[in-house]
Amino acid sequence: MSKPISLNDFDKPSEQLTHLELQELMPLPPPYDNVDEHPRWAPLKPQAREKYACSLDDTIAISLPKPQSKEEERELLEKFVSGLRKLLSREDNWSFLQPLLLSLEHCEKCQSCNESCPIYVSSGHNDLYRPTYRSEIFRRLVNKYGKGQKLRAKIKGEDIDLNWTTLSRLAELSYRCTLCRRCAQTCPIGIDNGLITHEIRKLFSQELGIAPKEIHDDGSMLQLKVGSSTGMNPLVVKDNIEFIDEEMEEMTGISIKTPWDKAGADILLIHNAGEIMAWPENPGAFAIILEAAGMSWTLSSDLVGYDGINYGLWYDDVQLARVALKHAEIAKKLGVKKIVIGECGHASKALTVIADRVLVGNSFVRRESAMTLIADIVDSGRLKLDPSRNNFPITLHDPCNLVRLMGVVEPQRRVLRAIAPQFREMEPHGVHNYCCGGGSGFAIMSGHNFNDWRTSVSARMKFKQILEAFSDCMDPSVKKYVCAPCSNCKGAIRDLLAYYDAWEKSSINYGGLVELVVNAMPEIKEPFIEWEWH
């Protein structure tokens, strides 16, 4: 059992605040119950230890360089304090001021939320990963440095020193939570530790310019620069889609020509562009379904218009607003009736829910998730579907953004109930689901040994759920499918299954929802689902 970690340990310099042993982590069900067969974690390289802040735990998420001088350190600390004050200001943080103040000022520290956190439970109940631990550290910093209540902090026994150790550990710790907000669901008062994590990330990004490279430089900045975080510019994306159209025709015998920039179309479909690169069968399946259903739709080749991702959702309100405004501007230009977001949870939430109070005045445009559209098409009978073509065990992963945070729960289930005779739920599911472990950017973060931490800790609960859902058919002769209607979740589940060799050992594969719909179309001679690892 790890040494208990007190709140008072956080600001005390030490080599590493905690260390996880594989034996301490939450046990997995058979045949993955032998820890000795699990992959060993790659230790951090000496160069990384030398260069970056790494005194929190066994990994590094944000590669925060150590300051080279006292002056540099002082500057960082001063910026942190100014960021704290800006988070408490109505001008600089109108976007989340009320929820933040409510969560900072009223937590009873009853710890009711801890057991709901898959990271805390999966870590073997390591104190550092309690949802309340990070929040309490931040609360103490806000009270002492943001509000200047130094005497109060001493009297209440909540004193904390803001130093390099505190700052760097807090920055890292804000990337040990997937923002799934399962903890907020359980809080009797409505305190939201996920929101506090979100605000800490914002402070670091918006004031200190600190964020994981994958999310900021190679994420939202690259998207704004070339059009997509995948690096695809408009020419490349059109080329790739043309290639996918050809592939689809080859696979299905159905001639597909994806429409581009069709003014006046009913629907502007925006995929997570990662699908185009990593899982081309997903945008391909969308095209087949929409064409077969006779929908009026288009893709956009405008900068940002062909990539629905909006990483700002996880760490930076300004970046969120910039991308959302671009999406709306493109829809306006095309004159579409609505934007439909493809299989991507965070993109759906960012544009439909969060940006609902960004897209005001002339920027306003209607938006919805593809889940409802696909469910309506399936329900309408416009497609001829044969469920027996999907007669293999299928379970459904609920993306947190789509389900707990948007309330889009049933449409994807309506589809599966219609086309998948062996569909079974994970437990718990729906709005009480567990995160895939890749939420809030983790799925695309793999610097240093972060992949080890993610797949072993933050995604561990999801792996347990998947194994339990298929416990009646674990024999590798039975091919099984985890349906994850979200690009980031799919990426996290891919890495998870690969990490534990679950395809080789148990024939567990994964994919999206629309692929299953196309697989059920009888006019397609060969199965659309390819039972090979990808």
Binding site: D127, K156, D192, R357, V409, G430
Partner: protein, 312 residues
């Protein structure tokens, strides 16, 4: 002494009301924030609440009438307020002590309301010295005494339990400071002494005399134990609104303004106008991709592409 306690009573009552009002205004006046709801949202129609769904499950939801199930929302609120449903579901061990503590407070609040009401009506001459067996005596003597007995006993049991848990549970110890312990000790003393008071004075004569004194501005001589209870009660009442114990105010906002707030943007509506106004607020976030200078507005920075501005 009597006059001093009366003055304290007025002061604390006024302070409590103002401090609570300030807190309500403080939260109510914060700007409209981005949507951050969490499902299930109980005012969705029953067929949606069943699985935690929202109106966003319907294609072209904006063309359909969005009906709210207010009775279910009220039911959910009552279960939460009266039974501490979330704590019961997610932290049963703590619920066993928190539930009697909160129920005790509710009953003590009832006790106080009836005593104050009785005192005010009596001061106005609407209720004279209650006669045995009369309705007024039942309402303003026996009922408050009953509420007080049960409320103080439950509050005492709850406060003792909470103190014990906070002192012994490894999960709670590190998150509980000396002030938290002090407050719980305060509640133990308050409820314990008040209960003792009622044991020695089952019809709450001392308490009634105190409130009648307040209502008529006539200092009343009280037994020493009653003085002590009043003093402790005033201290606790003054502390509640300035501490996290005012979560009964916060809870309204965390649930209605954040967790269950699924209000959709309507072009040209009140929310639209409020957000448009907020987009004109200045930004001073200083990271290079924002470069807020305190003059540029949110609309300015959101409409800027930093990769073009900086040539990155």
């Amino acid at each position: 002494m009597s006059a001093l306690m009366m003055g304290l009573g007025y002061l604390v009552a006024v302070f409590f009301c103002i401090a609570i009002l300030v807190r309500v205004v403080h939260f109510a006046n914060t700007p409209a924030h981005l949507r951050w709801e969490l499902y299930p949202v109980p005012h969705e129609p029953p067929e949606k609440v069943e699985h935690g769904g929202s109106y966003l499950e319907d294609t072209d939801w904006w063309t359909k009438k969005h009906e709210s199930d207010i009775p279910n929302e009220i039911k959910e609120m009552l279960e939460e307020i009266l039974l501490l449903k979330a704590l019961r579901t997610h932290n049963r061990k703590l619920w066993y002590v928190s539930f009697p503590f909160h129920s005790g407070i509710y009953l003590v609040a009832g006790f106080l309301v009836l005593l104050i009401l009785g005192a005010v009506l009596s001061a106005l001459g609407l209720v004279s010295a209650p006669e045995p067996g009369g309705l007024a005596r039942l309402l303003f003597v026996h009922l408050p005494a009953l509420l007080g007995f049960i409320g103080f006993a439950m509050g005492l049991a709850g406060a003792l339990g909470l103190l014990f848990r906070r002192l012994t549970e490894p999960d709670l110890k590190d998150f509980t400071g000396p002030v938290d312990h002090g407050i719980l000790v305060g509640f133990v003393l308050l409820f314990g002494l008040a209960f003792t008071c009622l044991l020695t004075d089952p019809t709450a004569t001392g308490f009634r005399a105190y409130f009648l004194g307040l209502a008529t501005a006539t200092p009343a001589a009280l037994p020493p134990l009653t003085y002590l209870v009043v003093l402790l009660g005033c201290i606790m009442l003054a502390y509640i609104p300035v501490s996290h114990m005012s979560h009964f105010v916060a809870k309204y906002f965390t649930y209605h303004s954040v967790r269950w707030n699924d209000e959709a943007m309507e072009p040209g509506g009140k929310l639209d106008k409020a957000i448009q106004k907020q987009l004109k607020l200045p930004v001073s976030w200083s990271a290079s991709h924002i470069a807020g200078d305190g003059k540029k507005t949110w609309a300015d920075v959101a409409g800027t592409n930093p990769t073009k501005e900086s040539g990155k």
